[in-house]
């Protein structure tokens, strides 16, 4: 294992320090607990949006803190959810008097830790709501699993809800909006190689030279099936079909299309995948209203990508286009 690190225990902290040093005009760090805070937080009269989760998915979530998106992000250790006391302190630091909304990816640990923080804050009389994001179609949602996972669709929820929060919407309105965006977004990931958790020192799973994993999770959790390696076009056919059949996305729909890198994939290949996605959607007369290509929700150095589609309407479009100033600021194409 080769990584640009000093020592295992310092990875999260030192990376946060670097991000804060690079973007001092947008964010600052909490002095007591590991949390990225919006520079001018707490913003009076605005609902505070807070997200968090294990580290290793950068720029998620710290890179999305700033005007027009999150007020705070709580990073846990690598692939490990943050702790209740950490979430509690971060929430108190950014609460602007109008309540706090937690945007939580659906993992057993994340949901439990945010739930405990919610109870601690409610005990002090603070209005707190929680929306759980579960956009990954790789996992069947049933009584027999922990439910669908939250993956790259989280970025889109954070952007759209963040824009509406900036306009002064109430906690109830924002909760409703977050649930509506979550209901319209679907993602599916795939891996060519494993990630390596630094403290573990070796790859989380093994994939043969001619193998790929369809439906991979962002922590290297295995997905739907392991298949023989295929061309970009054939892979898009598998992924695109699973996505459009799920919501479903149909002829005449307008979508935001995100081709997300897992951390170790060259942009060269991500654009090839976007080209394939465009051809795939064109053939079904599904219109790409907005697009995004790059590393937005990663899994350390894993090679592979995920595809996210969000069914758009005028409300989502306006909010997507609203100004945003965050470290992971992106050019959003028209």
């Amino acid at each position: 294992m080769k990584k640009l690190i000093n020592y295992h225990e310092g990875i999260v902290e030192e990376s946060l320090a670097g991000m804060a040093a690079a973007f001092p005009h947008l964010i600052r760090l909490h002095t007591e607990v590991k949390a990225v805070l919006r520079k001018d937080a707490p913003v009076r009269g605005k609902v505070a949006l807070l997200s968090g989760g294990g580290s290793g998915h950068e720029p998620l979530h710290g890179g999305y803190v700033g005007k027009g998106m999150l007020d705070a992000a709580c990073p846990g250790e690598i692939f490990t959810s943050p702790t209740p006391d950490q979430i509690y302190e971060a929430a108190k630091a950014v609460h602007g008097g109008k309540g706090i909304l937690f945007l939580v990816k659906n993992y057993t640990g994340d949901v439990m830790n945010f739930q405990m923080a919610t109870e601690m804050l409610k005990a002090e009389g603070l209005p707190v709501e929680q929306v759980v994001i579960n956009d990954d179609v790789a996992v069947k949602d049933s009584l027999y699993t922990a439910g669908r996972r939250g993956v790259a669709g989280t970025v889109l929820v954070e952007k759209i809800v963040g824009a509406r929060a900036e306009q002064g919407a109430s906690l109830e309105e924002l909760k409703d909006l977050a649930e509506r965006v979550n209901a319209q977004v679907r993602s599916l990931g795939m891996a060519l190689t494993s990630c390596t958790v630094p403290a573990a020192g070796k790859p989380t799973f093994e994939l043969g030279e001619q193998e790929m994993e369809i439906g991979i999770g962002i922590h290297g959790e295995p997905g739907r099936e392991r298949k023989a390696m295929q061309s970009a076009r054939e892979i898009m056919e598998i992924m695109g079909t699973a996505l459009v059949e799920d919501l479903p996305f149909v002829q005449g729909d307008s979508v935001l299309a995100l081709v997300n890198g897992m951390g170790g994939t060259p942009l060269l290949e991500l654009f090839i995948m976007f080209h394939e996605l465009k051809l795939f959607l064109d053939a079904r007369e599904i219109v790409i209203a907005r697009s995004l290509v790059g590393n937005y929700c990663t899994s350390l150095e894993m090679q592979g990508c995920s595809i996210t589609l969000l069914k758009m309407n005028q409300e989502f479009l306006d909010l997507w286009d609203a100004p945003v100033s965050v470290p992971a600021f992106f050019e959003r194409s028209r």
């Binding site: 490990t80 057993t108 640990g109 439990m112 922990a146 989380t204 290297g220």
Partner: protein
């Protein structure tokens, strides 16, 4: 078991986790996200640092510090789950400086109930509950048969081991392993394994205390 014994159990747990960190992480690589050993080791090391330098008048306060330490440093699902287990145990041990099998069993039941309320797992879903539930039952049986704490923990740890091994053929229905569906069968659950280490740590700590009870 007194404060010193309880502290010894936690120390044993931390030592076991240090030795078994890679094994637990390996188990977690197969059906989870490869961090269980790392998180548990980090959490219990922090707890040991805290409880080693504090004087405790009763078991409840000690157990509460263990709970808070785990909640604040483990993360993942294991932090709240083990934290809640010790938090509920601490409530039963408030003001008590000594515990026998009856009190341990009562506190353990409360802890297990708290953990089950939070995790909503049933027996047979490939989780910690599969280890802890038979251990709780073994404690009940030992109590009925008039055994002491040391004997009770011998049997509880043995029941826990069987429960842990029993998770191998199970299909996970809770937690991250559940995403694998049928593919989770054939692997021992990492959470069930760390739960066995916990019972084992209490068994070790209680050894030799039996005669006094």
């Amino acid at each position: 078991m007194d404060v010193q014994g309880f502290r010894k159990a936690i120390l044993h747990m931390a030592e076991t986790l240090q030795a078994q960190k890679e094994y637990l992480t390996e188990l977690d690589s197969s059906i989870g996200d490869a961090d269980h050993g790392i998180n548990m080791e980090r959490g219990f090391s922090k707890v040991v640092a805290k409880i080693s330098e504090t004087e405790y008048g009763d078991l409840g306060t000690l157990a509460k510090d263990v709970a808070m330490g785990l909640i604040q440093s483990v993360g993942g699902a294991s932090g709240p789950l083990y934290g809640t287990l010790f938090m509920r145990i601490s409530a039963k041990l408030q003001g008590k400086s000594e515990m026998d099998l009856a009190l341990f069993s009562e506190a353990f039941d409360a802890g297990l109930q708290g953990l089950r309320d939070l995790g909503k797992a049933e027996v047979g879903e490939k989780t910690m509950v599969d280890t802890l539930t038979p251990a709780a039952q073994a404690l009940h049986e030992a109590l009925t048969e008039g055994e002491n704490l040391s004997q009770g923990l011998e049997e509880a740890a043995e029941a826990a081991r069987k429960g842990m091994e029993g998770t191998i053929p199970l299909v996970a229905k809770k937690g991250r392993a559940s995403y694998l569906g049928e593919r989770s069968a054939g692997h021992q659950d990492p959470g069930a394994t760390s739960s066995y280490f916990l019972l084992q740590a209490f068994r070790e700590a209680a050894k030799g205390h039996g005669e006094k009870e």
